[in-house]
C-alpha cells in the first residue's frame, strides 16, 4: 500500500473517531437544555445562550480532530 493510502485512512479515522465523543456530548447538552426549557419556558433565552456555550466547548474537541484531518489531507 502507498503512503497516500495511510494518509487518507488517517484523516478519515481522525475526524470519524474524533466526532464520536463531541456528538454524544452535544446530544447530552441539548437534552439538558430542552428538558430545562420544557419545564420552564420563560427561561428559554437564558438557557439557549448557555446551551450554545456548552455546545461550543464540546464542539471544539471535534474541531481539533477536524484540523488534524485537514492538516493530514492538505499539508503533510
Amino acid at each position: 500500500m502507498e503512503p497516500t493510502t495511510f494518509k487518507l485512512l488517517a484523516a478519515g479515522l481522525a475526524i470519524g473517531l474524533g466526532a464520536l465523543g463531541p456528538g454524544i456530548g452535544i446530544g447530552i447538552v441539548a437534552l439538558g437544555a430542552l428538558s430545562a426549557i420544557g419545564r420552564n419556558p420563560e427561561a428559554a433565552s437564558q438557557v439557549q445562550t448557555n446551551m450554545f456555550i456548552g455546545i461550543a466547548f464540546a464542539e471544539a474537541v471535534a474541531i481539533y480532530a477536524l484540523v488534524v484531518a485537514l492538516i493530514l489531507l492538505f499539508v503533510v
Binding site: 437564558q46 445562550t49 456555550i53 461550543a56 464542539e59 481539533y64 484540523v67 492538516i71 499539508v75
Partner: protein, 351 residues
C-alpha cells in the same frame, strides 16, 4: 395553473438543472491551501501581503462605511437603516448586560461587539459566490516562490513542494474537462484569489484570540489589581500551614501536614488554571478556523460533485454556522471577561 402542475414543473426544472450542471459545468477540485496565499507583487519591507489581510482590511472598511451610513443623519426617532442598526446594537447591548451585569457592560461592550460584527462579516464575506474566481493567474512555480519562509514552513514544506511539482498527467478523456485550466488563465496556471475570508486564515484568528485573552488579563488586573495573578500562582494554601489556625492556636504536626497537602493541591490547580489560559488561545483560533474553513472546503467539494442545486441548501447552512461562530466568539470572550473580573474572595474561605 393547478398547484400539482406547478410542483411538477418545479421538480422537473430542478432535475434538469442538476443534469445540465453535471453535463456542462463539471470541474475538478482546485488545490486547497490551509495557509493564506501571498499576493504576487505586494511586498512591504520583507512582509508579503496575503489575500486574507487584504480581505480583513476590506471587512474593516465595510463595517466603517455601514456605521457612517447609519449615523449620518441621526434622528431621535430612528427610521430605515438607522433603525435597523440601532436594533442590532441594542439587542447585543441588552444581551451583554444580562451576562456581564450593568457595572462592567460599558467597558466590555465596545470590544465584544466589535469582535462579533467583525467575525460575522468576515465569515459571511467568504460565502460570496464567485469570490474564489477573482485573482491573479500564476504558474505553480511562481506560487511556490511566493511562499515566504516562516516558522510555518517547517510544517508546510511538503505543500510548497507539491505545488511546485508538475501536475500528474491526465488521461485523454479527463483533459476534455480541462482539468486545471481556469477561466481566463493559461493551461498549467492556477488562480491566486484576491480575497479570502480572514476566518479561514489561522493567523488572523490567532490575532483575534490574542486580543480576547489579552484583554481578559487587562480587565482582570483593572478589577482585582495584583490579586488577579494569585489565581495562576496560588501558594497561599501552602503558607497557611505555618500560620495559626482559625481559633488562633498553633497547628499540630498532623494538622500542619494536612493543611500543607491541601495547599499543594490548590497550587497544582492554580498551575492548571494558567495552562487553561494558554489553551484558550488554541481553542479560540482553531474553533473559528476549523468551522469556517471546513465549511468552505465542503461547499467546494459539493460543487465539484454536483455543480448546480446541491450547494444551495448548504450555503444556507454555512450562513447559519457563520452567525453561530461569531456569536460563540462573542459570548465566550464576554464570559471570560466576566469570570476574570469576578472577585475570588468567596473561593478562598473554604476549609
Amino acid at each position: 395553473m393547478p398547484r400539482k402542475l406547478k410542483i411538477l414543473l418545479a421538480v422537473v426544472g430542478v432535475i434538469a438543472l442538476m443534469i445540465l450542471g453535471n453535463l456542462f459545468l463539471r470541474f475538478r477540485l482546485p488545490p486547497v491551501t490551509v495557509r493564506a496565499e501571498s499576493l504576487p507583487g505586494l511586498v512591504i519591507g520583507s512582509v508579503r501581503i496575503t489575500n486574507s489581510l487584504v480581505t480583513a482590511l476590506l471587512v474593516d472598511i465595510i463595517l466603517i462605511v455601514l456605521a457612517i451610513l447609519a449615523t449620518r443623519r441621526m434622528q431621535l426617532v430612528p427610521s430605515g437603516f438607522q433603525n435597523f442598526m440601532e436594533f442590532l446594537v441594542e439587542t447585543l447591548y441588552n444581551l451583554t448586560q444580562s451576562i456581564a451585569g450593568s457595572k462592567w457592560t460599558p467597558r466590555f461592550f465596545a470590544i465584544v461587539a466589535t469582535i462579533f460584527f467583525y467575525v460575522l462579516v468576515s465569515n459571511w464575506f467568504g460565502l460570496l459566490p464567485g469570490l474564489a474566481a477573482v485573482g491573479f493567474c500564476e504558474s505553480h512555480a511562481e506560487v511556490a516562490a511566493l511562499h515566504q519562509p516562516t516558522i510555518w514552513d517547517r510544517v508546510s514544506e511538503r505543500t510548497v513542494a507539491r505545488l511546485a511539482a508538475p501536475l500528474p498527467a491526465e488521461g485523454g478523456k479527463e483533459n476534455t474537462h480541462s482539468a486545471y485550466v481556469y477561466w481566463g488563465c493559461q493551461p498549467g496556471e492556477i488562480i491566486v484569489p484576491l480575497f479570502r475570508s480572514p476566518s479561514t486564515d489561522l493567523s488572523s484568528n490567532l490575532a483575534l484570540a490574542l486580543v480576547s485573552v489579552g484583554m481578559t488579563q487587562v480587565f482582570g488586573v483593572v478589577a482585582l489589581g495584583g490579586r488577579y495573578f494569585a489565581k495562576f500562582f496560588n501558594i497561599s494554601g501552602m503558607l497557611r500551614a505555618f500560620k495559626p489556625d482559625r481559633n488562633g492556636q498553633r497547628r499540630g504536626c498532623a494538622g500542619m501536614l494536612g493543611t500543607f497537602l491541601f495547599g499543594c493541591i490548590e497550587f497544582f490547580v492554580s498551575i492548571l488554571e494558567a495552562v487553561t489560559e494558554m489553551a484558550k488561545l488554541l481553542s479560540f483560533s482553531f474553533r473559528l478556523f476549523g468551522n469556517i474553513f471546513a465549511g468552505e472546503v465542503m461547499l467546494l467539494v459539493l460543487a465539484s460533485l454536483m455543480p448546480l442545486v446541491l450547494t444551495l441548501p448548504f450555503i444556507g447552512l454555512e450562513l447559519f454556522v457563520g452567525l453561530i461562530q461569531a456569536f460563540i466568539f462573542y459570548v465566550l470572550t464576554l464570559a471570560f471577561f466576566t469570570i476574570a473580573t469576578a472577585s475570588h474572595e468567596s473561593q478562598s474561605t473554604h476549609s
